[in-house]
Symmetry: C2
């Protein structure tokens, strides 16, 4: 299609604004800025840096040494109780922890297994006795450990794992068993080489009753480093990335675990085998236990934001120095970032990275509220879990997408390991499926959205309910058949500038993003409601027919969460130039999300065709406005050369460009320089 | 949005059709089926198979040994002249060659460097003398060689490379020089370790005139394996993939090359320094020389199709065995591929793989026509290059996308190297930027589309031209303001079934895909026409403002090319069941492409809102139709376990599922089996 004349042109005021890098850095670093700065300082030490091309054996050894350095520094103990040398600081802990990804994602994950999962399970699922007995050694790494939850047969569906822990009152022990091969524990970090102990998730059976999944602390390897009798350990071998982590598998053949090693905060077994729990409902008990481990998802989100920043520092710095093809001049080639396509490839991803940064900051604050006890209400816990599920999904995918686009935008240089883009991408690949597969997490989000929606008329009598639905239907019809659209079209007539202005209003962006998420939920709810009286299998079939829409509704909700976080953060920016540039980034985030889903807005009459046609030109205008500030923006991420460590950001490319320009300048000035055959031919004519 | 009632329901006839695997395999293998089968047979030998996790040193050594096996077998000589032991078979050569990717992409690329670039440059750019002197040793690997074209400073823009070859008539030699660091040759396969010789691309300067890029054959390493004096070689080191290829850099300090080593088919220098060429125009000469190397792009296309097939064999086989979550039954979990989302993730990619297979087959036929001399006209050569550029771009991206989705669809198992998905993805990553960066290639395609369009009224006088443009404008206006849409809406009223039927008509699919590509070109041409009288810098600026649209127009054209190839291939299918199922796949390809760009169709009035709302439900219906045949389809790719080599396709997952089901069946039957706490609680109530 051809576009309407460009409106909202770039004026002098636009070109005069500047990023105050200090201001931008502070806003991005957020509440735990000091902690982050401290962590980054520590990670300048090259002892922490990944060495590309190492064998997995050497890499594992290196990472294990790095773990000891972290433990010595106390860098990984912030979340633990003060009495054990921690500082009860949950948000700060993750803020520091996620920076590890800049050193080596294997280190982030291996440290995450040790302190964020293994030791954290002791802390959150155990009682004071367990803290005293187990925490010190897990914290200082005398007891490296595995977190044995996932099995061959069950990853995302933890409730269905097959490992059993059957209580034997005669010896006051649990008997751990792997009853069939698919119940073998797998993908366990620390398992193949280093773990001495483990927390093992198993179906707890006592007095003939299965009380569901519980967690036991158990010894895995003897002092000689060999697996205990009855425990079989295998190595997962080479992986697509994270080869500094020694993933392995456990299977158990009648392993006896003392009764007092059951991490019993949410469920206990008395000496005689009597089961007790502070939470009656087995379902709620299970989700409460799992909910204490939400920090894994939160830290993957933060690491994804950090990796996206590294990718953009690389590609934008290179794009500002690298030249290829001459279009507007016969003697000078274009800088890559002056190409519209290059801006299209990198700047919307930069905008999304900002949105993700602020969404993660909010998530971290909520986590801190819940774990510090500031607001540990059930509702707030559930909200934390829903937010973490939504934001973990979109940010981990965003990191892979950004790393890949950055690598392609750097051409062959992007493929060389010394520029780290391929290496980071390979390591972060698994972030989209572990700690909850993204597509499964998005379904949890959608279920929550649906039940929130249903709760609106939970207590309404039939009359009210039917009125509610009727109102809803009317509004859908009105949108679908274009009445609202018609009104917009009339307003737009003859004033395209107003159309572009319309898109840049935050209230409009909020309405558009909210309505998409909301209406999609309403539509799915309408389809599912008819199924509620049917047998389970039929219900499941109808749910399945709408699974794709359900996922899309959850994604739309996540888009909105990111937008709200970004918009809220703008309030915290004092410097007007920085605020203006960040507002363009926020607009770019909103409008590229809307552009990507424009068919929905058109089909549902939320945006008229006339307005819609102003969208892409306006996005292009935002790219043009932001382009001069791109370098300042990535420079404000606050990373030093020791964190970035790419040849393409070292200044080498600029030197190469300068040298070759100087060579050609001298050649043009020299009377002996060769004449171009083309030029000679045209002179002859 | 809520969907209209499902139409075009699945009936008995739909469920009765079956894939005839032999028929489908033959159609997919195409014209060079026997050659492919022969190549696959050879590659069953595990000596050719990639070993995951090798150091790059060991991997390089292994691949170099494999190269000798290939040379001994003659497997890589088909394209060479009969007199040198080849068979002048260009299409067959690539058909066999691209199968190497199933063994190890490093082997494919290293073999591609040796025989498809280095030796091929001798063959295509050299004269008979060069063939006699150089071909035998390059063919049998006595002379491993590098193809020294790309430099630090210039990849996609080959015409601007900086290396110089200055003729010295006093000794009848060329002097090769790297005049500044950015002119260092880089990314060269074979360079770091193995190359004895090289073909070097350089600016040819004689008698004070630069005649542009030419190619010289030169010795690089002495008999002792050390670089010759004046040649500096460095190693690119670790890469994101393809670590079995020894990429390196060359720089030249006054290297003397005999005059007769200039590969002189398209440009020669006499003893006295006089330059001559059969092609007068330096521009056309350059593109003719480069055009002889198009087989690189064609073979990357074929390899991408093969890798996509392996990915889908892995993910679909696993998706048919793996179970997770129970929705419709309390005792049996769902098979992954029964989930709509899983179908959505894999089946459209399966459909695109078919389309890519047939587009590649057509490309190969055209290449064979050009290189065999059957139709070597300039027009056909140009068409080959445009097709190769378009199809290489979309198929290499498709392979990465498919490998990634397959890896995610297999969860953690997808991340383990033994299942090869991460490994193949890492190796194929660089395919999207080498042999022509995809985004640069798409711009070449767009330029061709624009000039074809402009040629329509090249000879028209002003009156005709303006009428043409006016007609065009009218048609755009009519579409934009919804007149055509209104007509459709009337036709659709009350007959949604007709809407779905509309989308499945091939003429409708062709019209929709054609019109999108065509109209986008027309729109861009309209915008650019106004710039044609402006100075170069302004013209470039206006072109740049539309770069994103231009790329999208080229992608739309590629979509159409794939669709046409698929549709044409359906004519070659005799078995009605196979044809029906392939027709659903073709429809799925078309309709998911249209779904992805639906906003364009709505904005341009090509599809009414009412029809558009039937699109997604119809796509879902196609998924449901295809789902039962998914395994048969991937089984018909004709690959053996020796080619696939994934744990997830070995039957191990099915065994694990069977064992665990048997365990639970026995447990349910046993009076001693533990009772579920949930069940016990509900009994108590």
């Amino acid at each position: 299609m051809s576009h309407p004349t460009v409106t909202d042109p770039i004026d002098a005021a636009d070109t005069e604004v500047r990023v105050d890098k200090k201001v931008m850095e502070d806003v991005l670093l957020g509440h735990w800025a000091d902690t982050r700065r401290h962590a980054r300082e520590l990670l300048k030490n090259e002892a922490f840096h990944k060495v590309e091309g190492m064998s997995k054996e050497d890499h594992r050894e290196r990472v294990f040494k790095q773990m000891h350095l972290l433990a010595e520094d106390g860098a990984v103990h912030r979340a633990f109780p003060k009495e054990f040398g921690g500082s009860d600081a949950h948000g700060a802990n993750i803020a520091a922890f996620e920076e590890l990804v800049t050193a080596d994602p294997s280190l982030q994950i291996k440290a995450g297994v040790q302190w964020g999962l293994f030791a954290a399970a002791v802390m959150h699922l155990g009682s004071e006795d367990h803290h005293r007995r187990f925490l010190p050694a897990t914290m200082d790494l005398r007891a490296p450990g595995a977190f044995a939850m996932t099995e061959f047969g069950h990853g995302s569906d933890v409730a269905s794992i097959g490992t059993t822990a059957t209580y034997d009152p005669s010896t006051e022990e649990f008997i751990l068993n792997t009853p069939f091969p698919a119940a073998t524990k797998r993908y366990l970090g620390n398992a193949a080489n280093d773990a001495k102990d483990a927390v093992v998730f198993a179906q707890l059976i006592t007095n003939g009753v299965n009380h569901g999944v519980h967690c036991l602390y158990t010894n895995i390897r003897g002092e000689d480093g060999k697996p205990l009798a009855g425990i079989t350990i295998t190595d997962e071998g080479q992986k697509g990335g994270l080869n500094g982590v020694d993933n392995g598998c456990f299977s158990f053949d009648n392993i006896r675990v003392p009764r007092t090693n059951l991490l019993n905060r949410y469920g206990d077994v008395a000496a005689d085998g009597t089961y007790s729990s502070p939470i009656d409902s087995p379902g709620r008990r299970f989700f409460t236990m799992l909910g204490t481990l939400v920090q894994g998802r939160v830290s993957l989100t933060g690491a994804s934001v950090a990796a996206s920043k590294l990718a953009l520092i690389g590609a934008i710095t290179y794009g500002n120095q690298r030249r290829q093809f001459n279009a507007s001049s016969t003697i000078e080639e274009e800088v890559l970032l002056d190409y519209q396509l290059h801006q299209r490839r990198l700047l919307p991803r930069l905008a999304t990275t900002f949105a993700a940064n602020f969404a993660h900051e909010n998530l971290l604050t909520k986590l801190d509220d819940v774990f510090s006890g500031k607001d540990a209400s059930d509702e707030n816990r559930q909200e934390l879990e829903t937010l973490a599920a939504a934001i973990k999904s979109v940010t981990t995918w965003h990191a892979l997408d950004t790393l890949q686009e950055a690598r392609e935008a750097c051409g062959g240089a992007g493929f060389i390991s010394e520029n780290r883009l391929v290496s980071l991408r390979a390591d972060l690949d698994v972030y989209v499926t572990f700690e909850g597969d993204n597509n499964v997490l998005l379904q949890l989000v959608a279920k929550r959205l649906l039940s929130d929606y249903a709760a609106e008329f939970k207590d309404a009598d039939f009359g009210v309910l039917s009125r509610y639905v009727a109102n809803q239907a009317q509004s859908t019809v009105m949108n679908r058949f274009g009445l609202r659209r018609a009104v917009q079209s009339v307003q737009d007539t003859g004033d395209e500038r107003r159309s572009a202005n319309w898109f840049k209003q935050p209230e409009v962006q909020r309405e558009l993003l909210t309505e998409r998420s909301r209406q999609m939920v309403i539509d799915v709810a309408g389809e599912l409601r008819s199924a509620s009286k049917l047998p389970a299998a039929k219900q499941a079939a109808i749910f399945n027919e709408h699974q794709f829409e359900i996922i899309n509704a959850a994604k739309a909700h996540a888009d909105l969460l990111l937008w709200e976080s970004f918009t809220e953060a703008l309030e915290r920016v004092s410097d007007p130039g920085t605020k203006q540039i960040m507002t363009w980034l926020r607009d770019l985030y909103a409008l590229t999300r809307i552009e990507d889903t424009l068919d929905w807005y058109l089909l549902n009459g939320r945006i008229s065709s006339q307005r819609a046609r102003t969208l892409t030109p306006y996005v292009n205008r935002l790219l043009e406005r932001l382009r001069p500030h791109a370098q300042d923006i990535v420079d404000s991420f606050g990373y030093s050369p020791e964190h970035v460590r790419m040849e393409i950001t070292s200044g080498a490319e600029q030197r190469r460009q300068d040298e070759s320009m100087e060579y050609y300048r001298a050649l043009r000035a020299s009377p002996d320089g060769p004449v171009d055959e083309k030029l000679m031919q045209s002179r002859k004519r």
